[in-house]
Symmetry: C2
Subunit: 225 residues, 2 copies
């Protein structure tokens, strides 16, 4: 089931870098992780996945190495890899990273184009809310915070942030059960964005910090039940 042989028709034709098989496997697993098909704590058996995706065990192994480096899965030596299951400490830790990076990025401000990208993410969130699409709402929220970090124009910070956001999706699925989860933060995003647009990045940073604290409490509460 669900092979990954979806190579664009132009494969090999143009110099469009064709991702390696291992990379495609990692991508597929990442997708299932984000989508919630694979739930935290679930075991990933090498042979099973290799068969399902029609690839070799060694290739699956390489994909696992990549996902493990992103903390999306955990390796238990000689026992297998499991979908990362995050505890209360992990939630706090992830938010610590976010506070460090996002708030610093916000204080640095951004170019008009960068600010426009933040604004675009806010509007994207509004549209998703209007359409009642929770999945899109979550994505928009990630775009919002990604855009904030992107203002720093640092490739390394961007990848760090991308990984953190991917990690967050793991425990978000439980939270998303509450359909109002994201809509709740739309006013915050709007206010933060307005402060940024008004040329007051420090105020925006303070608002963002408050938002992160509240978001952490909220998520911890949902998680605790």
């Amino acid at each position: 089931m669900a092979t990954i042989d979806s190579v664009p028709a132009s494969a090999g034709r143009l110099r469009v870098a064709v991702p390696s098989v291992a990379e495609r496997v990692a991508r597929e697993l990442r997708r299932q992780l984000a989508e919630g098909t694979l739930i935290p704590g679930a075991r990933l058996t090498e042979s099973t996945i290799a068969e399902d995706l029609g690839v070799s065990r060694n290739t699956v192994r390489e994909a696992f190495a990549e996902l493990a480096s992103e903390r999306l899965v955990v390796r238990h030596p000689n026992r297998g890899v499991f979908v990362a299951s995050l505890g209360a400490e992990d939630i706090h830790d992830v938010y610590t990273v976010r506070r460090f990076i996002e708030v610093s990025a916000m204080r640095g401000g951004g170019s008009p184009e960068d600010v426009a990208a933040v604004r675009a993410a806010v509007e994207e969130g509004k549209r998703a809310a209007a359409a009642g699409d929770d999945e899109a709402g979550g994505t928009a929220n990630q775009h919002f915070h990604g855009a904030i970090v992107a203002m720093a124009r640092s490739p390394r910070l961007n990848t760090i942030m991308a990984q953190v956001l991917a990690e967050m999706r793991l425990f978000f699925h439980k939270a998303t059960a509450d359909a109002l989860f994201y809509q709740r933060y739309l006013p915050d995003n709007e206010a933060i964005c307005e402060a940024l647009e008004a040329g007051e990045p420090d105020r925006a940073a303070d608002l963002l910090l408050a938002y992160l604290d509240r978001s952490e409490d909220n998520l911890a509460a949902v998680h605790g039940e």
Copy 2:
């Protein structure tokens, strides 16, 4: 030559986690990278390394995946992996990350034990300078900055910082040619540490920020020649 069969005599005896072969290969390569045996831009041929270390090509591959995720090596598809060669943009980017993380960590302050660890790193640097040991000086400097981030008590930030510091070693070997490179910053470290001990983390953070800016300029200059 230089195999990695140095398994502790107690292997299998106690429950001391024996690192996998792939992990040991990665460690050995990391060591050679930090030591300067492998210079930036150098190509790492799978078969050669496999033979040298007496392991399988697949295992080398897994080690490569790990090092690539740490940005210590770069994969050029179908061409091989090369020791990461960092340009001016990379230097700036790495320092951007350091400014974000280290300065934020500093402003948060730390427990007495955490501060003591920072102090210990400063003294370690002084001893290295007195002994004229550049290598030890570099290590002490890394301990200093690692201890600063450790104050945040965030596992994720610690690993991020560890990776960034490992990355820095790559272009430091060129800089270390100037034997005074590290000694130059000893007074800074001392001043920063004193401010921290005096309960003035914000002042310490400002000093640290100035230090990072100066350090970046310095490294960029050395790199430019």
